[in-house]
Symmetry: none
Subunit: 252 residues, 2 copies
């Protein structure tokens, strides 16, 4: 593969699959990457050669990732132009290495890439995982904190979590209120709704005994204020109250 | 399924698979859950019935999750004992709902569970995803911020990301919930409130024209589900509806 710095790759990490076995897993990894906008995949000595029809079939929709794949004969060759390499591993290795969570590693990777570094993340073969030589080549280890009693992440799932954290490190809006063509109700609108409700309830003697009227009204208002009402909701509730109370006013 | 509160479930969210089709996907979802220590799975009308040998075969190692599965006939039944429900959805829905990232939603879910609430997360059928009726039933929506140009997360991957975020949120400190001697309303309680309201509104011909009846009811239910109602609130609202509608029924 070429080792001339790939300008595009400075913007995102290279996902390096070392000795991947089944084409289906390569395709699934490509999908996982593209789900979060990553499309720089590198393969080190794929067992069944390259290109791989099974990978293409599985990648449906994420073909662009496979079109850009760079194949290398060794991990060293695949990492030749990288300035910062992370090795993903589940097993504990008897070596001194910084072990990072996907979150911490991708936050760091984002910063390094922004500073112009070329980042790569190594993923081992489906069954055995990375060899110690590959882990040693990496600058740090990424370990997904799974259930100590059970860790069965497959290759694509591991790529998915790392790609997810890369994208999350970009800063994503946490909560968003989707108002299907409406806007949040203003205080005065809720005031009028409360007033209307109380008026109709007075007509049917709801607030009894009189002594409890203030606290009962306070409860109703509190209930309405706690709800994230929209202007449409307020109109709907006015309609509901009117409809239910209508006959009370003896309307025909 | 039983609706007696399951003590264990207060410690973790129920993963509710609505209308799952392939047993393999149920098994894969079980593995994704158990990877991050979750083992409360509920199934709503699984297409191929239950138990499902294919699910068991795929779940290898995560069988305990399937052993504890609770099967329900409807989403309402599966959510009857839950006090906070999230719906996972990719498609944009034309309804007013709080849309949260997996991160924000699981941080909140952790806090709510710690405060004694029973949390559940809905996942739709493999192909179509959740129906609007199920999304309306939820109190909030979880949307994974994937590549706008490509979102191909499968059921197990979606469960994996949510379970991962639940586990990542372990550090979150519980927010204080002031319920003044009340408790969060359960799904079944809100079901009955919606039913009562619709019944009384039908008596006064509120849903007109008939063609708009379903969407009008959906709006009302969605409005109620968005509100953090307590058991006391539900009783109050039953009283309000009854009081306003009373004369309609010709009570003296």
């Amino acid at each position: 593969m070429t080792t001339e710095p790939d300008n595009e790759s400075t913007a995102q990490p290279a996902i390096v699959l070392v000795g991947p076995q089944m084409g289906e897993n390569i395709g699934a990894a490509a999908r996982a990457m593209w789900n979060f906008g990553l499309d720089r995949m590198r393969l080190v000595a794929p067992r069944d050669g390259w290109p791989n029809p099974r990978a293409v079939a599985m990648a449906s929709g994420a073909g662009r990732v496979l079109d850009k794949v760079k194949v290398a004969a060794t991990t060293a060759e695949a990492c030749a132009d990288l300035t910062r390499v992370y090795a993903t591993t589940a097993r504990d290795r008897a070596m001194t290495k910084t072990v990072m969570s996907p979150e911490a590693a991708m936050a760091e990777a984002r910063a390094l890439a922004a500073a112009g570094e070329r980042v790569g993340i190594l993923f081992g073969p489906e069954r055995a995982g990375l060899e110690n030589a590959d882990v040693i080549r990496a600058n740090a280890v990424i370990s997904v904190p799974t259930n100590p009693a059970y860790s069965s992440l497959n290759l694509a799932q591991c790529v998915l979590l790392v790609a997810y954290e890369w994208q999350r490190a970009a800063g994503v809006t946490a909560v968003e209120h989707r108002l299907a063509g409406t806007r949040p109700a203003e205080g005065a609108e809720v005031d009028r709704l409360v007033g209307h409700l109380v008026e109709r309830l007075d007509e049917v003697g709801f607030f009894y005994p009189e002594a409890k009227r203030p606290s009962m009204i306070a409860n109703l208002e509190n209930l309405l204020r706690r709800s994230p009402l929209t202007d449409a909701d307020v109109r709907t509730l006015h309609g509901v109250v009117r409809a239910l109370a209508e006959k009370v006013r003896g309307r025909k």
